[in-house]
């Protein structure tokens, strides 16, 4: 089973996404902010992370920065209601796999997740570049 971590400060989003991915046979965990996500990541291993970008205390970018070592291999997909291209660009430089804008179609997110699972983390490649 694929283990998916959903990070979003909005409870309804977490609920909808969880319900969907559970129905698609994912193993889903949800965190309401960056700190909680890191806590969960430290105790469990996940295959993919779907994270909101704009969250209190820690943004999606900061979360990527935090992922180091083995954790750095976990592909991250941002979902954001309001993020500029600049934001995504900075994400890509840090190894962001993909982004989707809210409101999003659940199938699209599933495709992105599947793609991430297929192509693996690009973070290493990105960080390996000179």
């Amino acid at each position: 089973m694929i283990k998916l971590l959903i990070v979003d400060d909005e409870e309804q989003i977490r609920q909808v996404l969880s319900e969907y991915f559970v129905s698609q046979n994912y193993l889903v965990a949800a965190a309401k902010n960056g700190a909680e996500a890191i806590k969960i990541l430290q105790s469990e291993k996940f295959d993919v992370i779907v994270s909101d970008y704009l969250m209190p205390e820690m943004t999606g970018l900061e979360l990527i920065d935090y992922l180091k070592g083995d954790l750095a291999k976990i592909p991250v997909i941002w979902i954001s209601g309001n993020a500029s291209l600049t934001t995504y660009r900075s994400g890509w430089n840090k190894g962001l796999f993909d982004y989707l804008e809210k409101p999003l179609r659940l199938e699209d997110l599933k495709l992105a997740v599947e793609k991430a699972l297929a192509f693996g983390n690009t973070k290493e490649a990105a960080s390996a570049q000179p």
Binding site: L54, S80, N82, L106
Partner: protein, 720 residues
């Protein structure tokens, strides 16, 4: 009639001299003439005495002559022998003339007339004894008899209408012894010649007159103007007063004194005239001519109105003091005139530069004058507009007229000194103009209004501009709001996109369940209620967004809970606070039902602006605190404080915070209008926006008065 100063002084002088002289004259006259009267009385008494003595001495003369003839042997013998030679040689005209007698008579012892002869004073040949005299002898038989018997008598007698000096003596021999043989009588008629000789001798003028029986003339003296009169009574041989004499003395000394006094009087008059002339000359030379000169100078100043002229002083006296005072008055006048001229020029310049029309109402004569500029404003030619106050009634807008009239009334009643109004006035062509009317009043010393002066300026273009400015301001306010919205767009997008994502997710889940036939009622209800809730959330955001974006300047004031206004405002900012990782805190020391009367949209705009500024200020700082505190101050005001981290604003920045286009943000980051517009909006809502300069970190305060509705509504309810 105009009596000049000169006439006054000369009259006074002349009158005083006249009175002085009159008194002097009367006093001297009284003293001198009184003295003269005494002297003259003495003189006349003396003269009367001498007169009487002379009279007596004449008698004595006759008596002594008679004695010579009576005691003479020839006479004695004649009575015996009747010798006619005796008569012929002794009683011819010559002896009568020598003896100065008129009558001679010889009586024998029996009392019979032996011889008698009477001569008129001028008639030398007359030899008769008039019956009157014969009658007298009959009457005076006793006297004759006494003389025959030896007792002669001498004295005055009245014989008929005439008076005589008479002497009768006994005829004796030369030895004067023996018995008389008869008596001899001599009489001298008191006639004009007698009187003349008497007057010549005594150097007087006298008249004689018969006294009526029993009267005497004992008046001591009578003063006539040119002579003095003394009275004397002469007695006859029987000691009966029979003849009165008036003795007149001339008054040469008196007349001399009178002349002298007259002369002195004339001299005095001459001297007075001389003195008056002298005083006149002095008055003219020393005073009047200078007063005249001064008067001419005053006229000159008055006529030419040249107050720079000065009177030239010549002497150091009171007149020059007057001139000095006048000169200093002229100094004052020329100073104030200069001041006045400057003021007037300034006034004219002001009127000219202000390009206004002036109207001037004289409250005493009710005359009003509109100047040409005034008429120009209303589009009239010079002769087209009558100078009447009803011009205002006719051309002023009916809505503006009452305010203007009550303003005038207040000026007249004294409750105000001036007023300014915007009026709408109709021009000749019928078009309406906005005018600024400044009106003031002039009062007299007692505070009564005497003049109303008004100034009228065409401000139509200003009014247009003002309208434009107001419009522009509204647009700018709106634009600034839009800018703020732009700044918040990301947050707002997030606010909407998130719930949209939820709804879309729910819909897809439902679709998925339906496709897989796993759509249970429970799932359906759960998803639908989620969709409903989330839709409400979106609609709430959209509503407040629409509210915020809307132009609220025409909204009525609403009674709203301050908490709701703050919540609405915060809803736009929460996403920014969250995304920029701001350390947010809010404290409420206020009842949730506290109500204010405001235009909520405008207050919301102020709060959003303040919150955005605070967020912008701290977003790049370490100290990312933004605090919202809501308190009540003195039960009257709500104090909304927005505090953020960082150093307090420098004093220079504080001073310019609310000025338009002042910004501390980088170019392109802000319009510089936010705070100035917020400040204006706060004022329009009876609120106050200010920077708390005492706070250790930047802090803005919005102070809104609490609406006092609880007390009044409770009361009205109770009453109901």
């Amino acid at each position: 009639m105009r009596v000049t100063l000169k006439t006054h002084s000369l009259l006074a002088l002349a009158l005083s001299i006249f009175v002085f002289l009159l008194v002097l004259f009367l006093v001297s006259r009284a003293i001198i003439f009184n003295g003269f009267s005494k002297i003259e009385a003495q003189q006349i008494a003396l003269a009367v005495e001498r007169y009487e003595n002379t009279f007596k001495s004449r008698l004595k003369f006759i008596e002594s002559k008679l004695s010579d003839w009576a005691i003479w042997d020839d006479s004695f013998e004649f009575l015996q022998n009747r010798n006619p030679r005796y008569i012929a040689s002794n009683y011819g005209p010559r002896p009568f003339s020598v003896l100065n007698i008129n009558i001679a008579a010889i009586f024998d012892r029996g009392g019979r007339i032996v011889f008698a002869r009477e001569y008129g004073p001028t008639d030398k040949d007359e030899r008769f004894l008039s019956p009157v005299i014969q009658g007298f002898f009959q009457e005076e038989r006793n006297t004759v008899q006494a003389a025959i018997e030896g007792r002669g008598s001498t004295g005055l007698v009245a014989i008929g209408p005439d008076f005589y000096l008479l002497s009768i003596q006994p005829v004796l021999p030369t030895s004067a012894e023996g018995t008389p043989r008869g008596a001899l009588l001599f009489a001298r008629k008191i006639d004009d010649r007698f009187l003349e000789s008497l007057n010549t001798e005594l150097k007087v003028h006298s008249t004689l007159y018969a006294l009526k029986t029993g009267t005497t003339s004992n008046e001591p003296s009578v003063h006539h103007d040119d002579k003095i009169e003394g009275q004397l009574s002469l007695k006859d041989i029987h000691e009966k007063p029979v003849l009165g004499a008036s003795i007149f003395l001339s008054r040469p000394v008196y007349l001399q004194a009178k002349e002298t006094i007259l002369f002195i009087g004339l001299l005095f008059i001459c001297i007075s005239v001389f003195f008056v002339a002298l005083v006149d000359y002095f008055l003219n030379a020393k005073i009047l001519r200078r007063i005249q000169r001064m008067k001419e100078f005053f006229y000159k100043v008055d006529k030419s109105q040249d107050y720079k002229l000065r009177y030239q002083n010549t002497q150091q006296d009171e007149l020059d003091d007057l001139a000095v005072s006048f000169n200093s008055l002229l100094d004052r006048v020329s100073q104030s005139q200069a001041l006045l001229r400057t003021e007037e020029q300034r006034y004219r310049l002001a009127i000219k530069s202000a390009s206004g029309g002036v109207w001037d109402l004289d409250l005493c004569t009710k005359e009003v004058i509109f100047d040409q500029k005034f008429k120009d404003i209303l589009g009239f030619q010079e002769n087209e507009l009558q100078n009447q106050m009803w011009i205002f009634d006719k051309y002023c807008h009916p809505e503006d007229l009452p305010a203007f009239k009550s303003g005038l009334k207040e000026l007249v009643q004294g409750s105000s000194e001036s007023f300014a109004l915007r009026l709408r006035m109709q021009t000749k062509s019928g078009e309406w103009k906005h005018v600024q009317a400044e009106t003031g009043v002039t009062r007299d010393d007692e505070g009564m209004a005497v003049r109303i002066i008004g100034w009228l300026k065409d401000v139509s273009s200003i009014v247009e501009t003002e309208k434009l400015v107001v419009d522009q301001q509204k647009k700018i306010t709106q634009a600034t709001k839009m800018t703020a919205l732009g700044q918040m767009a990301g947050g707002i997008a997030h606010e909407i996109n998130n719930p949209l994502a939820v709804i879309l997710g729910s819909v897809q889940l439902l679709q998925m369940y339906k496709d897989s036939d796993t759509l249970t009622n429970e799932r359906l209800t759960s998803q639908l209620s989620r969709i409903e809730a989330t839709t409400n959330r979106i609609s709430k955001i959209v509503r407040s967004l629409r509210n915020f974006a809307r132009d609220g300047s025409h909204d009525p004031f609403e009674l709203v809970e301050i908490r709701k206004v703050i919540d609405d405002s915060l809803s736009f900012c929460r996403e920014r606070i969250k995304s920029l990782d701001i350390q947010w805190s809010e404290t409420y020391q206020i009842e949730s039902s506290a109500v204010v009367s405001v235009r909520p949209v405008e207050i919301s705009q102020v709060l959003v602006n303040l919150l955005n500024n605070a967020i912008d200020h701290v977003k790049n700082l370490k100290d990312k605190r933004v605090e919202l505190s809501v308190d009540v101050h003195a039960d009257t005001h709500v104090i909304v404080g927005i505090t953020n981290g960082g150093d307090p604003l420098p004093r220079e920045i504080q001073n310019h915070l609310f000025e338009p286009f002042f910004s501390t943000k980088e170019t392109g980051q802000g319009t510089g209008l936010g705070l100035s517009i917020s400040h204006g909006l706060a004022q329009q809502n009876n609120a106050r926006l200010y920077y708390d300069s005492l706070s250790p970190t930047p802090r803005f305060i919005l102070e809104i008065p609490l609406a006092r509705l609880d007390g009044s509504t409770n009361l009205s309810r109770k009453l109901a």
